[in-house]
Amino acid sequence: MNFPRAASRALSTSGVPIAIALVLVVVIFQIISPVFLTPGSVRDYINNAIPILLLTVGVAIVIVAGGIDLSVGTVAGLSAGTTMWALVSGAPTWTAVLVGVATGLVFGLFNGLMITVFGINDFIVTLATLNIAGGLLIVLTEQVPLQGVTTPGFSDLVYGNFLGVPTGFWIAAVIFALMQFFLIRTVFGRRIFAIGIAPGAANVAGVNVNRVRLGTFVLSGLLAGAAGVLLASRLGAVQAFLGNGYEFIAIAGAVLGGVSLAGGRGSVWAAVAGGLMLATLQQGLRLNGVDPVYFSIVTGLCIVAGVVFDRRIQQLALGSFRKRAKGGPTPPAPVKLQETHLLGTGKQD
């Protein structure tokens, strides 16, 4: 296919394809069911989606650095638990918030240190902490009933109102903007991309690979802690299995947003758009009376379709580049794509 250069460049920019797709899906749902875009409905489903979007961003940062963090779901659940526990024990709102965020931080640090100091595979370490955090939440809920007490300030974290928009939106928007700035505009963010693209080359170039990797897990932990606080604030009660399975929705959202599982490619906005896409699909199906048991099937199909679509776009963009470099030798572009897409079909030519 022949693509204008500017268009192919824009489409190959991380986040643009998924944003377009998201708008299309919203339009389609609005046509099918006009109640889709009522303020109340939008507020509800975004409110519900925000904690998982925070996890999506955290996981996306780890993935861009070439790693994986499976623990974010249960760590968020446990953070919600410790936040509630602090409130139940009579702590003031801000102490409870700090306890929740600190819980995430501790797990992020633990993950990062096990991976960088002891050299254990990140998949294994975070699989272990997934279970540890999940187990600790069950223990906590058996010791203390994590409900019934809430301070007015605490529920305002999500349900408060500032300039007509719920506070939860503001908090999330500020965190997303900060994270995007951090990833794209700072020295540390640049190093995250470098170690994600080629850790060996980054090391030779003087990047302290382990320190950067540790940093990404700490960030992911902090975001999981923040997600836990918002979960507790929204629910007002924490049950034993809160957060279980969230990690996969978060990873799926990041991948759908074009964050490459092979590392080195992605942005915070793209990951947020990917996460929102999943939330929007669920909401659309729910409003149209589809049985919730079908949600995970749709989510799965959506991930596969999204990744294939993203690959096609990349290839088209590369193809038009190749034509531009006329006379030059053909770059082995398809092979390169193989390397950067773990979720590909693995088929060549």
Partner: protein, 529 residues
Amino acid sequence: MTERPALGADGLLLNVDGISKHYEGVTALDDVGLQVRPAEIHALLGGNGAGKSTLINILSGLTLPDGGTITLSGHQLDLRRASDALGHGINTIHQELSLVPALTTLDNIFLGREVNARFLGMNVKLDRRRMEERVRALAAEFGLSQEDLKLPVGEFGALKKRVVEIVKALAFDTRLLILDEPTSGLEEEERLNLFEHMRRLREKGVSLIWVTHHLEELYGLADSATVFRDGRRVGTVNVSDTTVDDLLGMMFGIAAGEFGSTSSAPALAEVEVESREEVLRLTDVNRSYVLRDISLTVRQGEILGIAGLAGAGRTELARAIMGIDKISSGTVHWNGNPVKFSGSSAAYRKGLAMLPEDRKQLGILPELSVSENISISSLDRVSRLGFVLKSRDEVSQAESYRQRLGIKTADVREKIRNLSGGNQQKAIVARCLNTNPDLLIFDEPTQGIDVSAKVEVHNLIREFVANGGAAIVIASEIGELVELSHRVVIMKKGRLVGSVDNVPHALVSGQFEAVKNRILAMSAGRTES
């Protein structure tokens, strides 16, 4: 199995003709040929980057050539994937062993070509008994017992693993066996043992293409040798008619003397190195099995060349100096103070920088732009408080390097993977220079780049030391080393085995060839005459 005529009309088993291969602006093979007779051991020689590996990959169906023909026994082959080569009886034993350590010898031999017991027309299970019957005699011939067939190959030593690969190849109608440095990692006795196996293969009528860096090994074993240099075939000779020196000359282009003419030796000779400040001193540095008792110094304004064959430990030494690999004993002094670099970032902070050998894997960050590749080692120079990046400064910094070093790209914001090899290399040089280092290590700085870029990179190195920097240059091309260096040390098997001081003076007095030959002799491991 299909019937094949024994040989082509020309009496050759394999005839490779006019093969070329280009990678993103780099010529790996340029119109090369290779003729292998039946039942001969044919050595394939050449320095790093000569194109041997590319040709082997083409013959094993792993790489598609840009053009040319491959004829086996008079039949033209179309090798599109590994199975095509195997199907025609071309087997390759790669340097990195391709055995599965956890599987038994027998399962490894039949991996992908298993014999199954059948029931009701379906494969139901592996028929290990029949597989064993098929290879038992062959295995015994190469010293593998019935017990060995049942053991996981992970338990075997390097030699036995190679023997398993040989048996694996022979079990399936092999006519041409390609051995890529089969003696690497083998002890002396094991080598001799392997050579026996190679002779036995020849007696069985199998032809061998043998890649090696150890020229002494050829005598009494190889029949003929083809030498490659810079992607071209230099020539094919009868091993019995040539000396090691002849072959070295062909491999590194000594006879051609192509570097003597452009030498800027007089300029370098003016440098009185001895009086300069010592920048780096290594004392008895060891790294288990890789580096042994290395002691050396590098002074300000000096280029120290490190010569040696592949596997001599040159890159390992560079990595140890940079703190990328840990040293197990010995001391490093930096500007007179003992130091221990915990990692590359510590070394960079102290004023060291390194241009790595493997540009594709360890040099460029392919998905980042040229300007981002230049700034990655010195981000504090283009950021506020070492935190927030100033993109405009980053781009203008890259722009100034683009003009100074002549990096050919339309825009420094272009991804670096879209540049040619030589321009990528210049960008990496820019990256190193931008850290403002006191010592810069160049590991094969001109590998895989064309002649004009080579000259430019050489000039950059000279300019760097002329401005007070110190450099270590590692290069396989001895002529290049002699021309660049003030002093050359020679490594072999992880040790320093000799040195040539005052190289510029020798060049001025017209001893270019003599110096090269001394270095070559020491690298190849013979005593200095």
